[in-house]
Amino acid sequence: MENITNIIKGCKQHNDKYQRIIYNQYRGFALKIVFRYIYRYDKAVDVVNDGFVKLFRSFEKFEPGDDADHEKKFMGWFKRILVNTAIDELRRGSMLPEIGGIPEHVWEIKDNSQNADHLLLYKDLIVLIKELPPTCRVVFNLYAIDGYTHSEIADMIKIPVGTSKSSLSRARSILQNRIKKMEEEKLCRM
C-alpha cells in the first residue's frame, strides 16, 4: 500500500498510476457524498466522475501542509470539489425535483450483519433526505451534514441567507414529520 503522501505527490505530477489509486480508494466515499445531493444513481456516478476529473486537473492547487494527517485534509478538499460539482449539476437542471423511486439494487445491505437494522435505518434516512425538495435537500445536506454555514451556503447556491435558513427549517420540519410517520408505521406493523 502506497503512502498517501507519495500518492498525492504522484497525482500532482499527473502520474496516472497514482491517480488510479486515488480513484479506486475514494470512489465509494465520493459516491456516498454525491448521492445525497443527486437523486438518480446513474447521474450521481457521472457527477462523481466529473469530480475526479476536476480533482486531478487541479491537484497542483492542493496544499497538504505540514501536519501529518494529509489524508483528512485531502478528503475535506475533495469533498468540497464533489459538493460543488453536485450543486453545479443541480443548477444545470434548474434545481427541479426528480421523480421515480430509488431502485433497490443501489443499496448494499449484507443480511448477516449485526448492523443490518442500523443500515436499514440509515438507508431510510438518506431516502428521506433525497425526497426533500431540491433546495431544502441541498441546504440540509450542506448545513446539517457537511457543516457549511448559512453564508457559505448562500454563496454556493446563490440564494439569500434568509432563504437558506428558511429552507433548512422547512427541511427539518418535513424530516421530523416523516420520521414520525415512519415510527408510527413501524409501531403499527409490530
Binding site: R27, K32, R36, N49, L96, E98, I99, W107, K123
Partner: protein, 435 residues
C-alpha cells in the same frame, strides 16, 4: 427544540457516513480519456455520447435509404424496368415490323409469288424476342380491338375490303400500298387478308412505339413517357393525383422516459405521383397522443400564471388531441410487380385541439395532484420530422393498400409544457388514383 435538532442532525450525519450504498462500477477509462483530452466532463461526455449516438443513427438511416434507393435504381436499370423493357421490346418490334413490311409489300406487288402461311404469319417467336415482347404484341392487338381498329375482311374469296376504315391519323402511304381497293382472286385475298392483319398490327405498333420515334412524328416521346402499358393492356398513366385514408396505432414518449397507453390516428391522405418512384404526399389526420414526463422536461412558463409560485412539478401524465398535417416525399425503394417497398420523409405540423394533463406537484413541501384541461387550438408549424418505411401493394383495380411503420421525431415542443413528444407507430392505408 435545539437539542432535538442537534440530535436529528447527528442522526443524519451518522446515516450519511454509514449508509449502505453500492459502489459504482470502475469507470476509470472514461476519466482517463477525459484527462487525456483535457476537455469536457463526464456529464458532458455522456450528453455528447447521446448526441453522437442519435446523429449516427440518423446518418445511418439516411445512408441506408440512399443505398436502398441506389440499389433499387441499379437493379431496375440492370434488369430493365417495366417502361424500359417496353420501350426496348417496341424497338425490337419496330425492327421486325420493318422487315415484314418489306416481305408483305413485295408479296402484294407480286401476287404470283407464293407466300406461305409460315412466311405471312406474324411470327415473332423465331426472333430473339422475349415473352415480354410477345405479351406486348398481344396486348397491343387487344388494344387495337378495344379501340375498334380491327379490320374485318368482308365476304368470301375475292370480295373487296372497302368497309375497312383506316384511322385518319394512319400513314396513308403505307395503307394504300397495303390495301388495294379490289382484289378478286383468292390468292390475292389471302395475301390481302394477311396484309390487312399485318396492317392492323402495324398500326397498333406504330401507335405504341411512337415513343422511340424521333421528334416530328405525330406523338412525341414526352407523351409516351407519361404512360406505360400494364399487363392488362390498358394504358396506365404514371403521373396524377391519388387519394386515400390511413389509420394506425402509436406509442408516444418524451425523452425516453417510458411509454404510456397507446394512442391512435386516423385521417385522409392525398398525393401526387411525380414519377414512377417519387410522389409528394399530404394529409389531414386526427391524432390522439398519450404521454408521461417528469417535471424536468415540462416547461412551466405557460402555466406559471395559473399555478402557485412555490409549486414544483414532479411529474405529469398527459393526453392530447391534435390535427396533424404532414407533408412528405415518398420514394419507392424497390418495386416488384404491383408491389413496392418505399420510404417517406417529411415534416408534420399540428393543431392541438385539446389537452388534458394530470400533474403531480409539491407546494411548500406538500405533495398534491392537479389536473388541467386546455383547448386553445395552438398551432405548431413543422413540429415533427416524419420518417417511415412501408410496403404498398395494388389490389386489383381498386387501388393500393399500404402498411407503414413510422417514426416522428419532435422538432419542437407541443402543448402547455412544450413537451418534445416522440411518436412511433404503424399506419395502414388505402389509396386510389384519381385519373
Amino acid at each position: 427544540m435545539s437539542d432535538v435538532e442537534n440530535n436529528m442532525d447527528d442522526l443524519f450525519r451518522r446515516a450519511a457516513e454509514g449508509y449502505p450504498l453500492k459502489n459504482a462500477q470502475d469507470d476509470w477509462d472514461t476519466i482517463a480519456s477525459l484527462l487525456k483530452h483535457n476537455t469536457g466532463s463526464a456529464g458532458d461526455n455522456h450528453r455528447k455520447k447521446n448526441l453522437k449516438k442519435y446523429s449516427i443513427l440518423l446518418l445511418s438511416l439516411s445512408l441506408l435509404l440512399l443505398i436502398a434507393g441506389f440499389i433499387a435504381n441499379y437493379s431496375a436499370n440492370k434488369k430493365g424496368s417495366p417502361v424500359a423493357s417496353q420501350v426496348e421490346s417496341k424497338v425490337k418490334a419496330e425492327e421486325i415490323k420493318e422487315k415484314d413490311y418489306n416481305d408483305v409489300t413485295a408479296a402484294v406487288a407480286a401476287p404470283d409469288k407464293k407466300i406461305t402461311d409460315k412466311q405471312q404469319r406474324l411470327n415473332y417467336t423465331n426472333d430473339d424476342n422475349t415473352k415480354q415482347d410477345r405479351l406486348n404484341t398481344r396486348n397491343m392487338t387487344r388494344l387495337s380491338k378495344k379501340r375498334k381498329y380491327h379490320y374485318n375482311i368482308s365476304g368470301g374469296g375475292g370480295d373487296n375490303i372497302a368497309s375497312e376504315k383506316i384511322p385518319a391519323n394512319y400513314e396513308s402511304g403505307v395503307t394504300e400500298q397495303m390495301f388495294p381497293k379490289k382484289i378478286s382472286n383468292a390468292k390475292g385475298f389471302i395475301q390481302i387478308h394477311h396484309a390487312s392483319e399485318y396492317a392492323v398490327n402495324d398500326f397498333v405498333l406504330r401507335q405504341s412505339i411512337s415513343s422511340v420515334q424521333p421528334a416530328g412524328k405525330k406523338e412525341n416521346i414526352t407523351a409516351e413517357k407519361k404512360a406505360s402499358v400494364n399487363k392488362n393492356g390498358k394504358a396506365k398513366k404514371i403521373q396524377g393525383i391519388y387519394l386515400g385514408f390511413m389509420f394506425g396505432a402509436s406509442v408516444n414518449q418524451i425523452k425516453t422516459q417510458g411509454l404510456r397507453k397507446p394512442g391512435y390516428d386516423i385521417g385522409v391522405i392525398a398525393g401526387y405521383q411525380i414519377s414512377k418512384s417519387l410522389s409528394l404526399e399530404t394529409g389531414f389526420m386526427y391524432d390522439r397522443k398519450n404521454y408521461f414526463s417528469s417535471g424536468e422536461y415540462f416547461d412551466m412558463s405557460k402555466l406559471s400564471a395559473t399555478m402557485p409560485a412555490s409549486m414544483k412539478l414532479l411529474s405529469m401524465e398527459g393526453s392530447c388531441s391534435v390535427f396533424e398535417i404532414p407533408v412528405k416525399i415518398k420514394y419507392n425503394l424497390r418495386s416488384k410487380g404491383n408491389s413496392h417497398f418505399y420510404s417517406t420523409a417529411g415534416i408534420s405540423s399540428y393543431i392541438m385541439t385539446n389537452e388534458y394533463n394530470k400533474y403531480r406537484s409539491v407546494t411548500n413541501g406538500t405533495e398534491q395532484n392537479i389536473t388541467g384541461k386546455y383547448s386553445d387550438n395552438a398551432r405548431y408549424l413543422a413540429a415533427a420530422l416524419d420518417v417511415s418505411l412501408g410496403y404498398e401493394s395494388e389490389i386489383g383495380s381498386y387501388g393500393n393498400i399500404r402498411i407503414e411503420p413510422y417514426l416522428q421525431i419532435p422538432l419542437k415542443g407541443i402543448g402547455m409544457g412544450s413537451l418534445p413528444v416522440m411518436t412511433a407507430g404503424l399506419h395502414i392505408g388505402f389509396t386510389r388514383p384519381i385519373r
